[in-house]
């Protein structure tokens, strides 16, 4: 690397570290809830697409995920990125083989220091995702998802009680995933999705998209 390339490399590294966060709508979830007594941990590598300047940009966005079975038909868990955390539950509402339908409400807090047309690093998200699984066979499962997230996005000065420059967003989204069970405790999932943020005062914003792979490992606790 030449000295001339160093600043660019540092900038790219900084963007990789700082830009992802609420930009990603990737949840990499299926509708099947985690069994009681089982904890699943996973690692995801998503590619996110977003508006940068007046062009589209793409970045990798690593995430850690976990789910813990809490009841016969529900679990809880979350995902952790470099600058954000989202927690939520997942409730299985319908189980009629080969179909499973669940709803997963979640809440998250994200810090997005580099923004684009607006400057709002503090992001609080609250919403839910509906998930529909179709089990093709014991190893392959298709998942369709539809989500609606509400976001409060504001500058850091919100901590000083100054809300000038804050925005409320509603973001409908959709995703499509496919999961492959490598063995009874290991699942590989690929997912792609799109979110269409709508500023409640200023109208539509540029859509964001994601495409990712997630490897999830489940472990039943000993009793």
């Amino acid at each position: 690397m030449t000295p001339r390339h160093a600043p660019r490399a540092l900038w790219v590294l900084g963007l990789l570290l700082l830009a992802p966060g609420c930009l990603s709508g990737a949840r990499n979830l299926g509708a099947a809830t985690t069994p009681v007594g089982t904890t699943e941990v996973g690692v995801s590598m998503n590619a996110i697409a977003f508006e940068r300047g007046r062009e589209r940009a793409y970045l990798p966005n690593p995430e850690l995920t976990f789910r813990k079975g809490a009841g016969d038909n529900w679990d809880w868990g979350g995902r952790l990125t470099l600058l954000g955390l989202e927690l939520g539950t997942r409730h299985r509402l319908v189980e009629r083989s080969p179909w499973t339908f669940s709803v997963a409400p979640s809440a998250g807090v994200w810090f997005v220091p580099v923004t684009n047309n607006t400057t709002e690093p503090v992001n609080l998200r609250l919403g839910a995702q509906a998930l529909l699984d179709y089990r093709i066979n014991p190893t392959w499962t298709l998942t369709g998802g539809a989500s609606l997230m509400g976001t409060f996005a504001g500058p850091l000065t919100v901590f000083q009680g100054r809300f000038n420059g804050s925005h409320l967003l509603a973001s409908p989204g959709a995703s499509l995933g496919v999961a492959y069970r490598l063995n009874p405790s290991l699942e590989l999932r690929a997912e792609g999705g799109l979110e269409l943020p709508l500023d409640l005062r200023e109208g539509r914003r540029q859509p964001t998209g994601h495409l990712g792979l997630s490897l999830r490992w489940g472990r039943a606790s000993r009793r």
């Binding site: 300047g53 684009n116 047309n117 709002e120």
Partner: protein
């Protein structure tokens, strides 16, 4: 039972110690919030017309009756106007000496007045905000030719941390009877996203659209992040401007290396020579200069 008391106390003490998690987490959270929001809010000059400073230190009748063979424009961000003496030294040696127009950023009124006085220039200066140290922070246009009109333009997208407002300062410079619209630009740093900074550049372009056919928009565009210079150049090109400082290279030395922050865009002028004076000039920015052929 004094004999057993110490052991019992130790065990009991250990057993009843409060959990440390919340005790640690709360101060850490408060410290984090303090660090994140600790910067005081900027004091901005919200007045659309001021405050305004101007002065004319040109020798009587020096240039107004002549027609130049070329026009030299310099843009220079003088880093909080701290090292004025070094800046004057730089501006009085070739290739910056005898520049026709100098646009400056991060200036305060005394610094602009002193530079104009020592170089024999006329000037207009508008501060955008007040620095933490109490000094003003704004843009100036200095000229060897008469300034016949000037204006201050507020830019959109204040920075999210200090709410610091940015401005552009425009001046109509009468070069031998031909008006040239000159704008001194200081866009936000990359803490405002690239889209926001492009909005700032577009606001300036819209403001000068339809004015004099000869236009110079120059200054610190804060194009340090990858792709930002390309998109800024593309925006100006789409609006009919030429990137007259193209190829001059990095204009700032920083801890992460050289960065191409300063540019000169023009309409109706043909650049014939350009460069960056990388000798010490009292700033982390280097002065960028472009010499234009004067349209006959």
């Amino acid at each position: 039972m004094p004999g057993v008391e110490p052991a019992a106390r130790t065990g009991a003490h250990r057993k009843h110690l409060p959990r440390k998690g919340p005790l640690v987490a709360l101060p850490c959270t408060l410290l984090l919030l303090t660090l994140l929001t600790g910067c005081p809010l900027a004091e901005n000059y919200a007045d659309e017309g001021g405050p305004r400073y101007s002065g004319d230190h040109r020798a009587p009748g020096a240039t107004s009756a002549t027609v130049p063979s070329s026009l030299t424009v310099v843009t220079f961000n003088l880093a909080f106007a701290e090292n004025v003496t070094e800046a004057i030294t730089a501006l009085t040696r070739p290739p910056l000496a005898d520049a026709d127009v100098i646009v400056m950023q991060e200036m305060d009124a005394p610094a602009v007045e002193r530079i104009a006085s020592e170089l024999g220039l006329t000037y207009v200066y508008y501060p955008a905000s007040v620095q933490v140290d109490g000094g003003d922070f704004g843009n100036a246009v200095l000229s060897r030719w008469p300034i016949t009109a000037d204006w201050k333009l507020g830019l959109p997208h204040d920075d999210p941390y200090r709410k610091q407002h940015r401005i552009a300062v425009g001046a109509t410079v009468d070069v031998g009877g031909t008006p040239v619209q000159v704008v001194s630009v200081h866009n936000a740093t990359p803490i405002v996203g690239l889209g926001g900074r492009l909005d700032q550049a577009e606001t300036i372009i819209n403001a000068v659209d339809g004015r004099e056919p000869l236009q110079v928009i120059a200054g610190d565009f804060n194009t340090s992040d990858p792709g930002s210079l390309d998109q800024t150049v593309k925006l100006f090109s789409e609006r009919g401007y030429q990137w007259s400082s193209e190829g001059v290279g990095d204009t700032v030395d920083s801890v992460i290396g050289g960065l191409p922050l300063d540019s000169v865009f023009t309409r109706g002028l043909t650049p014939v020579e350009r460069g960056v004076d990388r000798r010490p000039a009292g700033s982390d920015h280097h002065p960028v200069w472009v010499r234009f052929a004067w349209p006959q």
